[in-house]
Structure formats: structure tokens, C-alpha cells
Symmetry: C2
Subunit: 324 residues, 2 copies
């Protein structure tokens, strides 16, 4: 089958055997797979959770050929027995194997997934948007960990796909999000979704102190700026890992102590959150549609990686060539 495999030498188009489902798994036809910025950066930067060789891709819309049903796939495989799994934090299972990181993902005609990771796609939800369920679920997890409440003013750094999905999810929680995006072109691109959602997008942090701030960018400056913008007792959602050393001075870090701030890490998402994400997308089809930049076919992925890595465009989705 057609597939893109990453090895130590890079990402290459390959003819791989169709994978075989093991016990509890299903073999699924990939209809579409989103290209996350992590997929694009991984070639240069590596990733804590990546095992090579690997077929990347974890934002998938798949079809079970035996039933013709469409699914989003929760990109985790967990032990189900540990403390984290038992307490609703399955995304933190120490034995977690992530789709497209520990096991082969969606940049291929076929992939396997545990049956319990399949989440039925709402019938009217376009497949493009099914691919957004995973990033939206991660944004929902960040808002949950940050304990965002109705009426809260929430600062979101980064007006990319995830920052804007986070804005959408914050709106649904009854909060008032404000998305900070420094690049004029990106703010312009976001005008469509911003209008649909009545979402505030600014270049600079406006007005007074925020109840919560979350980083949807790996920029260290944004991280520091967000902490500084919180009211006393405010919550910081540490959603994006930082790209470089934090370079925090004693004074800056001690503000967390003196102002009784809270910092809540978040990583990945749970099946529950991804099921919520699918319903939320169903309620916001027209707004979320603004976040799809282009559909390409698998053999265009490699030339498109720099485009994705630039962070200057919205979501690029890839599909097998056969479907042309």
C-alpha cells in the first residue's frame, strides 16, 4: 500500500504491506489525515515519544470497509489498569502508545487501531472536520486543566488552528477568549472564523488582567507574557511545550508564588474529550470550515512539510492518491 514512512534518513514514500489487525484491533481505510505542525517539526527536532521507523499522522478520518462507517480515532493505546487510566487521565498512562509516534498512523492507505479507540463521526460532519477532532480535544483538555469557567476572560497566545479551536471551545464554555496573534497575515486569515464565532483577535494584550492565559504557541516570550497578564490567583494553561530554554529569572518565577498563580500542564486528550470535540465541530461546521487550508495527496506531503512548519497557514489534509 501507499505510505509515508519516517526513518533516520527522513520521510519517504514507500510501498508497505497492508497492516494486519491484532486482537482487539480493526484494520481501517484512511480517508483523510491532517498534518499537524508537530509532524512537520519532528524531522528536524525529533520528539520525546517518537519511535522509528514510523508512519506519522494522528489526525485521521477512517472508514471501516466492512460497515462503511466513518470514525475519528483517539490516538492513544493504554493499559486501562493503571492509576492514570482508572482516574480518567488515560492520556497520561505510563504505557501509552500514541498513533503516529509509537505505532503507525494515518499517512498510509490503511492503518490499524484498537476497536475501543474508534469514535463514530457524526453523519453530517465533513471528513475534513473529523480530522480536527483530535486538536480540538487537546484544546478542550487544556481548558479543563486550566479550569476555565463561565464569564472568565481567557487570553490565548497563538492564532493558529489550535489557538482558534481553543477560542471556539472557550466560547462554548461561556468564557470570553482573546486570541493574540502577532503576524498580520495570520490575523487576516483568521478573520473568517473570528467573525463566525465573534472571537476577539488582537496583536497585543488588551486591557486589564485575565482570569486565565494559555499558550497555543511554543514561543517562550508568549509564555512569560501570559503569566504576566494574569490577575492575582489566575490560572496559566501550559498547553504547548516550549521551543527553547525558558530563561526565567528568579523574580519572574517567584511571581507565581507571590501572586498565588497556578500553572496547569496539559498534554493530549482523552476519548471523552474527543467525543465532545466531534459534537462541538458538528455545532460549528461553518466556523470550523475556515480552518481547512488545503487538501493534498500523500505524495505531496513531503514538499508541503515546510509550508506546514512555517505555521503561516491553516490545516493541510492529505489523502491517498487512489481517490483522485
Amino acid at each position: 500500500m501507499e505510505a509515508l514512512q519516517m526513518t533516520m534518513r527522513g520521510i519517504r514514500e514507500m510501498d508497505l504491506p497492508k497492516p494486519r489487525a491484532r486482537k482487539g484491533e480493526v484494520c481501517l481505510r484512511v480517508e483523510l489525515c491532517g498534518i499537524c505542525r508537530t509532524d512537520a517539526k519532528i524531522l528536524r527536532e525529533g520528539h520525546r515519544d517518537l519511535l522509528l521507523p514510523r508512519v506519522l499522522g494522528h489526525e485521521v478520518c477512517v472508514i471501516d470497509d466492512s460497515t462503511q462507517k466513518r470514525y475519528a480515532v483517539w490516538p492513544g493505546e493504554t493499559c486501562g489498569r493503571c492509576r492514570e487510566c482508572q482516574s480518567g487521565m488515560e492520556n497520561l498512562c505510563p504505557q501509552m502508545r500514541i498513533l503516529g509516534f509509537h505505532r503507525d498512523g494515518g499517512f498510509a492507505e490503511w492503518m490499524t487501531a484498537p476497536r475501543r479507540s474508534l469514535l463514530p463521526a457524526p453523519p453530517k460532519l465533513p471528513s475534513d472536520l473529523v480530522c480536527l477532532a483530535e486538536p480540538l480535544a487537546c484544546a478542550i483538555n487544556a481548558l479543563e486543566q486550566t479550569q476555565v469557567k463561565t464569564g472568565w476572560r481567557v487570553l490565548i497566545h497563538g492564532g493558529g488552528v489550535v489557538g482558534l479551536l481553543m477560542g471556539m471551545a472557550a466560547k462554548e464554555k461561556g468564557a470570553t477568549p482573546c486570541v493574540i496573534e502577532k503576524r498580520p497575515a495570520k490575523r487576516k486569515m483568521a478573520a473568517g472564523i473570528a467573525e463566525s464565532l465573534e472571537l476577539e483577535i488582537d496583536e497585543k494584550i488588551p486591557g486589564s488582567r485575565f482570569d486565565a492565559a494559555i499558550n497555543a504557541t511554543s514561543d517562550v516570550k508568549a509564555f512569560k507574557e501570559g503569566l504576566g497578564a494574569l490577575r492575582n490567583g489566575g490560572m496559566y494553561g501550559f498547553f504547548s511545550g516550549l521551543a527553547s530554554d525558558p530563561d526565567l529569572s528568579r523574580q519572574e518565577l517567584n511571581e507565581i508564588h507571590y501572586r498565588q498563580l497556578r500553572l496547569a500542564g496539559s498534554y493530549g486528550c482523552t476519548r471523552r474529550q474527543m467525543t465532545q470535540a466531534l459534537s462541538m465541530l458538528q455545532r460549528n461546521i461553518s466556523a470550523a470550515g475556515h480552518l481547512i487550508f488545503r487538501r493534498i495527496i500523500f505524495h505531496e506531503i513531503v514538499p508541503y512539510l515546510p509550508v506546514v512548519e512555517s505555521g503561516e497557514f491553516f490545516r493541510v489534509l492529505a489523502r491517498p492518491a487512489q481517490k483522485d
Copy 2:
């Protein structure tokens, strides 16, 4: 009256006029005042909240001469109207004026305090222990912010007065605290209270990952060690400001993101927490008694500051000379 005043030139014994109570305030006779390590370090390091000239001392047991009643004093004076005051976070009031920092404190024969900051001392609680109500309340605040629950394993870095009071308060919450103290002499000194409370004190972090960790020391190494000792999803209580730059690498800070840890700052305490502290001390008179190292008189404070700053001993309390 006899008083110790800090100016730009240091801390000196002075003959100051007896202070006059303003509206809503009471003039109180100081019976005893604890010397906090912050008081000792402030001379060399300064403090964010210190306004000079100042009579230091914020851990007081005072007497209202008109009624002969003893009080602990909540060391805050707040606006009572802001968002923080209204939501039970009066310790974060932006207009906060702290006893011994913004207004004159307990290293003097007399001091004034807002009437609403007076907390009646339980009749059988020795005055030495009334002076521990403030540090204990700060420890209670840290445990609350860190959301410590029954059954939790809680790592506490620092076996000084506050770390041990935090151990006591964690025990009362039904948690299992483990206090880390590197200095053998300090561990030996803590044997008495440890035995009374059945409190674990160790040199090194024992066993597996903790539900929560809190720093009762300004050591950066302890801060990093505590974060590392948490289970996935664990809570870090950022109780002590750090003495030097945190020197956190990208990898270390990103663990908060990847392992979905939480960091909860805490600073000071509220009146409610200090009232709780007085009752808790009443229930633990014999254990808490181990934390009193020595009673001195005011004019011995200056020579004792290096002793207090060394952090090698338990609480030193000072009282006016007249009472000899």
C-alpha cells in the same frame, strides 16, 4: 517605648513613641513575637513588600490591656472591597499592607492592629504557640492551594519550623507527608516533633512518585527535585520564593506540560486559615512545643539574627525587657 527599627542603615534598638490607634484599630501590648527567617534575611536581601523605616515582626501574641484578652494578629490590612477580598483571597488584595512590612510590627512594646485582624487565642494555648499561628496558617494555605486530599502522599522539602508545621497540617488532612531535610543536625532536632506526630523525616526522597510536593525552603535544587518526584498529573505547591535563578532547562519545564503537572503558588494566609491554625495548635500543644528553640528579649534580637538566618535552629521568640 522599647522597639527595634530597621532603616537603610540596619536594625537598631530605638526609643519610639507608643503608637496611636487610628479608626478601627486597637493599641496592643506585645507579649511575644517570633523571629521569622524572612526577618533575618531581609537585612541582606531586602523584600518585595518592605517599606522603611520599619519595626519588623509579624508573628505576634498581643494583649489588649483594657480587657486582658490575648490575641494572635492576622498580619494583613486589606481594602475589603476588591475582587480578591470578596472571593476569600484577602491575602492577595492589591492594597494589602502587611504587619512588619508595610506597617510597624511586633518587635516593640506596643503595636496597633485593625480590630478585625485580632484573633482570640484559645485560653489554654501557651503564648509561644500563639506566635506559631501565622506560619502554620501559611502552611495551611499552601496545602489548600495545592489541593492536598486525604490519602495523598505529600513530599515536603525543608525540615524547619514551617516544613514541620506543614507536616502537622498535612497529617490533620489525612495525608501522608514525608519531610525531606538534608542536614543531619536538623533531622535530629526534629526527632521530638516527628515522634509526637508520627511524621516521616528523610534525607533523600524515598520510594515512588508523590501526589503532591511542596517547597518549604528557597533552595532551587529542592524545587526541581520536588517537581521530578511527582506522579503524572501531580500538584506542586510553590510555597517558598526561590533564593536564586531557577535555571530550568526547556526539558525540565516541559515536563509540567508533558506530565500534566500543576504548580500552585501560595503567599501568606487568610484570617480563616489563621483561626484554623489556632485550633490546630490547641490540638497539638505538646508536638508544636518542640518547635520553640529559645525565648530572648528584644535587645538580643540583633545578635540572634545570624542564628535565625542560619536556619539551623527552631523558632526564637522575643519579648520586651520589662517583663524580666
